[in-house]
Point group: C2
Chain length 373, copies 2
DNA sequence: TTGTATGCGTTATCAT
DNA sequence: ATGATAACGCATACAA
């Protein structure tokens, strides 16, 4: 590939002597429109028109301008354009941490769409705390961002609705839209569009799958209050049990969090206490893997002794032994939808919910008593 | 948490009637410095001083200004600031695709550093082709980005040096620095700093580990010319063999690429052809996993029959059966270094090389003939 | 079709 | 300590 770049390393400053400074900020020292105009012997308006692809400019003049631009290695100042509402704008992608396939896939999806309209994906980590979130929001306001995406789970305390409402007001004052992505949507905050997936549906399908295999005593591992994703997934488990006319045994939903270490400890305790269960629904794949470690240590075979289901279908879940049954989430598509929502400038309230898919592999099998019978 | 946001949903436009337009661009419709100044009964210079934390302003006046800012819900225009070289700038993160742990970890590292100085991490995918790369570069020029990071591997054709040189010239014309991150550095392009890790060192250590275990016929899976990372890693394998006084058997380095499917096919063929080998060094973990699948299908036991080493230490590599011996790369730290390089504005040429670490797990063991003997 | 004048929202300089 | 003014680089309304 022959690069189209001209290596204009040094070619003499085209604005020699013209820098008789008087007042105001110093020149950035770069070639600007005026320079191009002078070089081409036209006015800067004409240059502007050429850049804007305005057809109302004589082809001959246009060529002369383009030539001048090339010779001076001119680069439009996108910031100046943005100030006039013309150029590309930032799209803020707010996430607590840049970790996991969730993050990468959603971000990729957003970028695909956002780049189509020339906007720029700007990623900011909030460290999971409200202060970090506010700082990021403030910075996006200052940048006059096109939109801010709240990505991932969130604390769902009582103040969540108010918080969301104030975020919305906060951003709209700067002409920035707020979009939720994998974040819980609230009907009480109808002016904030949301793109989501069927979080509860995944655990419901997983649990139904286990029920169909004859399991009755099913552990749910990874319950956490005040955490939207954890809550939703737990709900799906409950729904499936209730639909089957079964009670939810609190002893099978150990106190834990959405975090790995607490879940592993909880699993360990359940096993050590000799609790009677034949299957485990884990809130996410990483938790399932921790459970797998515990089982292995205790000589418990999956799925012969216990069936296990994960959530997210992370990479390599099919390569574990046994291959993990799990729920696949269309994270990439989720990102695309969010991105499209921004580009379209669709002000209408949307609460898109994408379907998830149960991927049955080797870690789930018939309940022991069924097999025995 | 009581949010610090004032939900100024609608409070009456503070600039009523003052919008007697004459010419030029339309007002963005937002509160600006002048509005604040009028509201506080001072000049806009004073407001500017307050924002810039300039101590040369009477505390009393300052308070009045701050009050006005709050009342009007004023937000500085970061774009205007940037235009004058004052505000935050973009840091372009150019990567072919947003996949893998490489991406997320490096990006996280960069963001940690870059956010300290208030700059914004802007991620652009280049789709692995030169055109996409040029487009991204151009956009970063227009945005007057602080720097552009070329992240990940790259094609290493003959034109690579020239290409890099022209990129450098291209960007420097807009005051944007170029930094390589996991990209091969070239001594012929000394003005482009680079942050790298000991790519060859990883495969060298892996191969040495296998040699120490008595392996002599070691396959290298994932060789690809014209791909910097693939080349470097292959080199490490060669170095180790040569240092041990062994020849590199071309039959043990099958024609493949850095991609998964071709590697799997190559592995399949090696096995089917009954080639004599006792160990495999895979160019990356995902390739190793594919090899594992092939072995499993053919009833070959790891590490009893064949030892296997990966590269990258991706998540869950320790949870495979057998747990994969692999090379850990400090991707996060790599990103941090790159970020620091930008903030410091260190113009000096640097070619930082971070060490990697061999993580020995269960997939490598004594060579069969050693065990037998 | 092209040029002139003016404004976007900010900061720096100079004068008071 | 504060205000008036110019300047950053661009785009647009209007005149020619």
């Amino acid at each position: 590939m022959k690069s189209t770049v001209e290596s204009r390393t040094s070619q003499g400053d085209p604005r020699s002597g013209a820098n008789a400074r008087t007042r105001g900020p110093a020149r950035a020292g770069m070639v600007n429109m005026k320079d191009v105009a002078q070089h081409a012997g036209v006015s800067s308006s004409t240059v502007s028109r050429v850049i804007a692809q305005n057809p109302a400019v004589q082809p001959e003049t246009r060529d002369r301008v383009l030539e001048a631009m090339r010779e001076l290695d001119y680069v439009v100042n996108g910031l100046a354009q943005s100030m006039l509402g013309r150029g590309s704008r930032a799209v803020g992608f707010l996430v607590s941490h840049m970790v996991g396939p969730t993050f990468a896939d959603v971000a990729q999806g957003v970028e695909e769409e956002v780049s189509k309209s020339g906007d720029l994906l700007t990623i900011i980590t909030t460290h999971g705390d409200p202060e970090g979130e506010m700082q990021a929001l403030q910075q996006m306001r200052e940048q006059r961002a096109r939109a801010v995406l709240l990505v991932g789970a969130s604390r769902t305390g009582s103040g969540y609705g108010e918080s969301l409402q104030s975020y919305q007001a906060f951003l709209s004052a700067a002409g920035t839209r707020l979009v939720l992505c994998g974040h819980p949507a609230l009907s009480s905050v109808p002016n904030v569009p949301s793109v989501h997936y069927d979080n509860a549906g995944g655990t419901r399908m997983a649990t139904e799958h286990l029920l169909a295999l004859g399991h009755r005593r099913i552990v749910y591992l990874g319950a956490q209050a005040d955490h939207s994703t954890a809550e939703d997934r737990l709900r799906g488990y409950r729904q499936a049990l209730e639909a089957a006319g079964l009670e939810v045994d609190p002893g099978l939903v150990p106190d834990s969090t959405f975090e790995l270490d607490t879940c592993q400890a909880a699993m360990e305790e359940l096993v050590s206490a000799g609790r009677d269960f034949t299957a485990v629904v884990a809130a996410r794949d990483e938790i399932a893997v921790r459970a797998l470690r515990v089982f292995r240590r205790h000589g418990i075979n999956v799925p012969q002794d216990v069936s296990l289901v994960g959530y997210d279908d992370m990479p390599f879940m099919a390569d574990l032994t046994p291959a993990l049954t799990t729920v696949r989430v269309p994270y990439r598509e989720l990102g695309r939808r969010a991105g499209r929502l921004i580009s379209n400038g669709d002000a209408a309230f949307t609460d898109d919910v994408l379907p998830v898919e149960l991927i049955v592999r080797e870690s789930t099998g018939p309940a022991p008593e069924v097999r025995a019978g």
